[in-house]
Symmetry: none
Subunit: 130 residues, 2 copies
Amino acid sequence: MQAKEAAERLEITQRMLRHYEKEGLLTVDRTLNGYRHYTNADLRRAGRIRDFIASGFSTREIRAMSACLSDDGDGPCEGGVEMLKQKLADIDRLRDELTQRRATVLDRLEVLEQGLAREAALAARITEDS
Amino acid sequence: MQAKEAAERLEITQRMLRHYEKEGLLTVDRTLNGYRHYTNADLRRAGRIRDFIASGFSTREIRAMSACLSDDGDGPCEGGVEMLKQKLADIDRLRDELTQRRATVLDRLEVLEQGLAREAALAARITEDS
DNA sequence: GGCTACCCTGACATATGTGGTAGGGTTTCA
DNA sequence: TGAAACCCTACCACATATGTCAGGGTAGCC
């Protein structure tokens, strides 16, 4: 497929696709007229690049584990594994924090809602009484 | 504690700590001489900021959820069921995002490790054969 | 041919995270 | 008093991800 469709499918801009290419993360071949022709494999690879960048990896880092980006991680990518593990740890730490925080907020929310319910009940009773 | 120790404990530079402050993500008070004094709460908050940035969030985004970064919601994180519900939704959204990012990284990691295992097995077989 | 909707490259612009350096104050300790 | 090891602010520099715009080619359709 050509650029527009590829970009749309990945939900990124053509500019970004060209950027990946320029940075050596992606190789796309051309049709006779010079237009880029994206295969499905290209698309999957580009999708991974997109995700990695969205997750805070730089093109440098991604390039370093370039071999790990193709459909089947062929090639030597121990460095990639290390990096990935590191990033995974980062994300996990964050997510745990969020989970904990969520519980805290939820707790408080429940307390508050109980309080409100109590007030409402009280108000209702007063209304009844009157 | 003062800047050096804080930076060392968080494994980031003092420069970065100051950056968080300048961007309004962190408020650190000072001792009489004007030196920053980091409390443990400051440290935890800064650690969260560090993690969010490392996970690809911009200071803008982090600022937007600033209230959820303190240990216990002081400021806008408290005061009103509506607000808390909003916060809960924010946190959930964030956590979902992280989960997605985590899955992306994990996926790749698994493919890679399978690849490495396959290679190792191959190498072992070759060694046996010889 | 002309119109429309694609495509290309290249340059400039902006935001952001981070490093570095300069110039200068404070604390501590001998 | 002087030196070492801290601290401060304020700047400039750099990389990078993206946007945007200019100038120009190509394909398809009426």
